[in-house]
Symmetry: C2
Subunit: 331 residues, 2 copies
């Protein structure tokens, strides 16, 4: 019988403390120790910040390190727990899923104590850390084969009060985009587990591609804004600069807003994220590669909308997503 | 006994013809048909253009499709053969190596007729197509976790005359960078096989990351410049615009010019490609992730040089490459 998941240090100690979340070993690999940072300034909101859920989205772990550097000196109250790398096996492999068991950590929550390594990480985080927080920020980067603006996202929530509080918190990041994302593939997400427990959960998504200085600066400003909005940090929230502008908008997108590839091939993007498009505008071109005599296929906007995500530089299968459009949120 | 590799059509037919390169099946997978384009305008230089060697470098295959569209109408002589996707299994998986056998196609040349699928592709290309050309352009994109300027590269060649002709051809692309790359890991490269047969072989490398419109335009201009330089196409060669400039420089880099990571962690780039740096300038920061108490490590330039490649947004192991610098070529 292996040891149960636990923290190697006492989170209720006042001030800064650091240690690890112990994830028991199993048949597929040995135990893991995930570094955890805690700042306890007593009564107040309790925030859990997680990053490195998907291993090819690396801005989050870097912002976590910056946060750990400046937060202890800042005028704060309440409690902040930071877990910079949820899935070290995927981060080391620069891979969305865990190479060892092929699982997507963000589809296995609440995990299983006797499962494979990804499920054991999910179980340890769910049982040990989630219970200690009222609010969760999970920092993603949308993956390397998409372009996506700096955004705070949530899925629709049946509880109208929790939905309203979650959208307000997403907007408080003051990023270029706050997005209510109605999608079908939510089973096993960390978001859903936390929201079902009545917690405010906001997922930040950043830009795709690789780590860049601009995105890191925007990400850090967004996290700072959130801490201010929660009352954890004193200061003035401000829109970070994105494409020479300081502004944000709140949109919604539904399953029918995702455009699918009409054939297998290489997708060449023909627009940028946050572009306003009208029916018939070119979004990109799909180039079939199996035969040189097949014509390239123009992909056009189905109606008036804003582009929130565009595939960039990947081979896509038929019916794989290549663009996502959205419209202003109506609550 | 399986069929030998062959072309499904007659390359000596005048004008445009299209068909496939047949790669025999083996124990690991069935036969493959790689689309091939041929334009035969009679006597003159014989050029082979290959792309899609590594599956996560997708500008090349798109430029190949553009080339196939405009080349038949252009005033040309000689013969051009285009193979847009050398390794369809890797392209479909957006993976540098072939998922089925884990091999890097650009390290298995001349391949093996009775080998695994990657070796069989290498064998078919080496035996059937390489013999039909005097000059080869292989179009790469440097992979998604590096930043790299649009560049035409070659390895040093012992034959001084072939070396001079190869550098002239690399410069004729008129890209921002022509680079003589002295590296240790060249066994099994397509380049080396072709150069050992006395052929001019230039490898174009483009920008890393994902497919973008700017890179595609520069790549297409570079290929057009090469066709003009070879005498295959009439017209005037011009430098394409890169960062608001039209210029090119020729550099050299050696194994000792590659900076290695001093520890495992996430590398945050702190400079851009083609930046001029002097000793001590910051190139980037390595953030260890295994322990939150380890300090981040500044990576600094070892001396006066130009940055030609910088890792962007990837977890790196200890001693993995994170930056490559270079200096003006001295022949």
């Amino acid at each position: 019988m292996s040891e149960a998941p636990h923290l190697t240090f006492d989170l209720v100690s006042p001030g800064v403390s650091m240690g690890h979340l112990f994830v028991p070993g199993g048949a597929d690999c040995g135990e893991l120790s995930l570094p955890v940072f805690s700042l306890n300034k007593g009564e107040g909101p309790r925030l859990l910040v997680t990053r490195g859920n998907h291993g090819n989205e690396l801005e989050g772990p870097l912002v976590a390190r910056q946060l750990i550097e400046w937060l202890p000196e800042a005028p704060t109250g309440g409690r902040v727990i930071v877990l910079p790398v949820l899935n070290p096996l995927a981060v080391e492999a620069w891979s969305r899923n865990t190479p060892l068991d092929g699982l997507n950590l963000n589809r296995v929550f609440p995990g299983r104590a006797d499962g494979s390594v990804t499920e054991r990480i999910g179980d340890a985080v769910s049982r040990v850390l989630l219970a200690m927080a009222d609010t969760v920020f999970d920092l993603h980067s949308f993956g390397p084969t998409w372009d996506f603006p700096p955004a705070a996202t949530t899925h629709p929530i049946a509880d109208r009060d929790l939905m309203a509080r979650t959208v307000r918190m997403a907007e408080a990041f003051k990023l270029p985009l706050a997005l209510v994302w109605d999608c079908n593939d939510t089973a096993g997400m960390f978001d859903i587990l936390a929201q079902n427990q009545g917690k405010v959960f906001v997922c930040a998504e950043f830009g795709g591609g690789t780590v860049g200085a601009d995105n890191l600066a925007i990400y850090e400003a967004g996290v700072r804004n959130e801490l201010i909005a929660l009352g954890l940090l004193e200061g003035q929230a401000e829109y970070p600069t994105f494409r020479q502008e300081k502004s944000g908008q709140t949109l919604e997108t539904h399953p029918s807003d995702e455009l699918k590839s009409p054939a297998p091939g290489i997708f060449e993007p023909g627009c940028s994220v946050l572009d306003e498009v009208k029916q018939g505008d070119l979004l990109g071109i799909l180039h079939p590669m199996e035969s040189l005599s097949s014509e390239s296929i123009d992909i056009r906007a189905p109606g008036r909308s804003l582009v929130v995500a565009i595939r960039s530089g990947a081979h896509v299968e038929m019916n794989e997503g290549i663009a996502i459009v959205a419209r202003p949120l109506k609550i």
